[in-house]
């Protein structure tokens, strides 16, 4: 009788497949819970006590956000600095900030920003990546986009642009008018400011090389 090979034996492949599938399932379930610790939002108290969270509390909109190079991690990491005015206030409460952010998140979904832009790695590259858009020096005090809107602060300039994007020549592919209201625009800017404070392990890779994006340098 010919010698039977293990390689042509069904049971070997069945058991191997069961092991790999079973192990991968357990690993993925574990990773799900492991990730939830990484992405859970910090609290206002964390911000005040200087506790670093990958996703800070919504009240981060009351603070100045900059980045600095972390040589050990090999990329820029967010630094939550001193208080900063956001739409004329730096005392947005946890509830107010969370509500504003929620409005911005819903707005970004209903207007389908991701159809053209990228947010935290999700979306398209037809229009600029918005993950760290808040830090774009073009919206800063000497930036061309801020002066274009005639507003005196970054958040007001961004909100103005969002309400009437088709009036402002920004990009070869201009943003269409999406009927964003003043309130929604405020929410969207808060959403973008909060997003820029999220530690994304240096994503997007090139933003730190943009002049002015890190500590205004």
């Amino acid at each position: 009788m010919a010698k039977r090979s293990v390689w042509s034996d069904n049971r070997f492949w069945q058991r191997s497949a069961a092991w790999v599938t079973g192990f991968a399932s357990i690993l993925l379930i574990w990773l799900t819970f492991d990730t939830s610790a990484q992405i859970s939002m910090g609290t206002d108290a964390d911000l005040q006590n200087g506790v670093t969270k990958r996703v800070p509390a919504p009240t981060v909109i009351n603070y100045k956000i900059t980045y600095e190079m972390d040589t050990v991690r090999g990329h820029e990491v967010p630094v939550i600095g001193e208080k900063e005015m956001f739409f004329g206030r730096d005392d947005w409460s946890e509830e107010e900030a969370a509500e504003l952010l929620h409005l911005g998140k819903l707005g970004s979904q209903s207007k389908n920003c991701m159809n053209c832009h990228t947010l935290l790695g999700n979306g398209a590259y037809y229009a600029p990546d918005l993950t760290k858009a808040w830090l774009d020096p073009a919206w800063g005090p000497e930036g061309s986009l801020q002066s274009m809107t005639g507003k005196s602060s970054k958040e007001e300039a961004m909100a103005e642009f969002l309400q009437h994007p088709s009036q402002y020549p920004t990009h070869a592919r201009m943003m269409p008018d999406l009927g964003i209201t003043a309130e929604e625009a405020q929410g969207l800017v808060a959403f973008l400011k909060h997003m820029s404070s999220i530690d994304t392990n240096g994503f997007p890779r090139n933003f730190g090389k943009i002049k002015g994006a890190v500590h205004g340098k």
Partner: protein, 51 residues
């Protein structure tokens, strides 16, 4: 340097494990491939017993 201090924002087992591509590869090979050798040997012994 072969070993770097663990500097992740929120420490976790997988963060520690996946500091570089090789650490994850070694881990996955250990837990997936090595048991397959064991399954192979068991099946071989069974075939020899039955055959």
């Amino acid at each position: 340097m072969m070993f770097e201090p663990f500097v992740d924002v929120v420490p976790s087992f997988f963060g520690w494990l996946n500091q570089g591509p090789l650490t994850l590869t070694i881990f996955l090979h250990t837990v997936i491939i090595l048991p397959m050798f064991w399954i192979y040997k068991q099946e071989k012994a069974r075939i020899e017993r039955e055959g």
